[in-house]
Amino acid sequence: MTDDKEIRGQVDQFVIDEIDSVPHLEALLLLWTNRPKEWSAEEMGKALYVESAFAERILKDLSQRKLAVLRPQSSDRYSYDAGSEARNQQVQALDAIYRREIVRISRMIHAKGSPAVREFAKAFRFTKDREE
């Protein structure tokens, strides 16, 4: 039981640190559950019911955070970035928990505020921390 709590805490921290919005989260989970499938912006847009330009931005953001990787050789499609085992475990835990706690996690994401504002504050950190 305490294990569960710890896992939830880690998932929450992952969401706080890396997830910019609910569509970002949904996109990440789509990439994860269908890996190693490669997605174009259009395909992702259809899956998320958003415009492909928006989906393109989401995929770009995810690849900047090393959650997705661009595959230029397959005409700019993206797939899940399975580089880090620790990352994989976090995303797996997120996948398990999200469907059960969708409201709580979406609320948490919305409480974070805009990514640009967070980046502004982050820009003034020059000491190494767990962050960055």
């Binding site: 990514p115 980046e119 502004f120 982050k122 820009a123």
Partner: protein
Amino acid sequence: MAPVVYMLGTLVTLACGIFLLRGYFRGRKRLLLWSGLCFLALAVSNLLVFVDLVIFPEVDLYRWRLSFAAVGMMLLVFGLIWEGE
């Protein structure tokens, strides 16, 4: 004493500008670009105060000092409205 004050102001704004532009090149969030440029313009404005009053006291750079500061603030306001959500 006064020149030190002018230079410190220049250094703080310059540092802010550099942090923000560095952050922009990392994350590509445009708010950081506009605010970074703002602080650089403010740094120039502060530097010009030093140049105006200490180095070339016979020349009046007041308009230039104001212009750089005004441009900087306009960039920042534009950036905040457009990207600040």
